[in-house]
Symmetry: C2
Subunit: 245 residues, 2 copies
């Protein structure tokens, strides 16, 4: 195993940051690493909003469900899927644009995630810590208004970057056999593997919480999936011009 693979396998989210700043030149370097990721048919559909304004940061922390590190991390980025840029490219060419296809939504969303993960790996290679903020999708309309996002642009997630002020353990993942299949999908035996994993996850949470958090993976998942999952998303995305057909 080399140093890069060790780095990837050591990832954990950081939710407490020191007050060290991250210079603009370093941030630009991270963004260039993001841009270098593969991009479907070279669409380059990721736009990053770097949020520096303190009031906006506070508001985003609140919209994300009260995640204070959104305001306190050295940097906070909002990763957007952006097909507005392609409308502009079409206009420059005097061409019409067919939009609203689900395929375009998938492509743009994947593009954003590949870009962001490169930013994350680059940041962690510098010793920085990160936390993805899916909580921006609690109220994506308010986030879009705050950041003045036009039609055909939506905020996929946020990202905190800064110097770690905590050192959490790496969370154990599902057994390899559960996530890697050969030639065809089969979940024969997975219930047993997940049960064994649940026991390990329970130990992890107990250890991390000093015994107070007594939960396993399938229990967490079942609790989560008995609730509606941000039921506003489909309407929101359609209003932004996505998933219309």
């Amino acid at each position: 195993m080399n140093e890069t693979i060790r780095l990837l396998q050591r990832h954990r989210s950081i939710r407490k940051f020191g007050d060290q700043t991250l210079p603009q030149a370093s941030l630009d370097e991270l963004i260039r690493a993001g841009q270098a990721a593969a991009t479907s048919s070279f669409i380059q559909a990721c736009t990053v909003i770097q949020v520096d304004d303190a009031a906006s940061r506070e508001r985003l922390a609140e919209l994300a469900g009260g995640q204070a590190y959104v305001a306190s991390a050295a940097r906070f980025l909002v990763f957007c899927a952006d097909m507005q840029r392609h409308r502009l490219a079409c206009e420059m060419q005097g061409a019409d644009m067919l939009s609203g296809f689900t395929e375009q939504f998938v492509t743009a969303t994947v593009d954003v995630a590949l870009f962001a993960q490169n930013v994350v790996v680059a940041a962690e290679s510098l010793g920085l810590g990160i936390c993805y903020i899916g909580g921006l999708r609690n109220d994506p309309q308010a986030v879009s208004e705050l950041l003045e996002l036009p039609e055909l642009v939506y905020p996929v997630f946020g990202l905190c970057i800064g110097t770690p002020a905590q050192d959490p353990e790496v969370k154990p993942r599902l057994p390899l056999e559960v996530v890697l299949k050969r030639d065809r999908y089969s979940d024969t035996g997975d219930a047993g593997r997940i049960a064994a994993y649940d026991a390990a996850a329970r130990d992890y949470y107990r250890g991390r919480s000093g015994g107070s958090k007594d939960i396993d993976w399938s229990g967490q998942i079942a609790a989560m999936l008995q609730k509606e999952a941000r039921p506003h998303m489909l309407d929101f995305l359609r209003r932004r011009g996505f998933l219309k057909r």
Copy 2:
């Protein structure tokens, strides 16, 4: 800049592979690097189908629109968004599962992309080359049947991995100012920046093709977006149990 960031910024897709094999133990290591990526609310919604069967590889190459390297690369992986595993977890807990939410589709798709990009970075750190295969979405129903994917699982993209037998240039990306905004979205000035970039992209393609490929970025994009984008995707995904609400 460190070695990891240099590695990220050097990425280019490889479409011609040598006949060196990639041992299972090395592949497992790459998948473990993928698993270590951040995962929204710890859902771990990525399942990888490692396709070893030669006939299946040939069929997938054909389904992807005749991309021979799908069959010839040392390894070919199909990355699936998988909520079937969560149904199993709910069953284990004697709980119902609310499915079909667009939010779940976004979360699972992002999960897959973060996982895959870690696999890519790990592979490239070993000197391997990769190519994402979005072409699996040309006929995702046929891919799903071939790989026996159940409901609540869909193939997001494929990935070729192997030893590079070509050394293409790194493609120039959009100017940083186009993809990185401060505090709010604004595309003022972007048309001029894209026009300048178009000139650079044209030079790149001319150089790579010995003069025969004379196209720029906005021209490529406009040509692509005048066609319907895989219009079967919405129905396909709904039939798999996604994007129902």
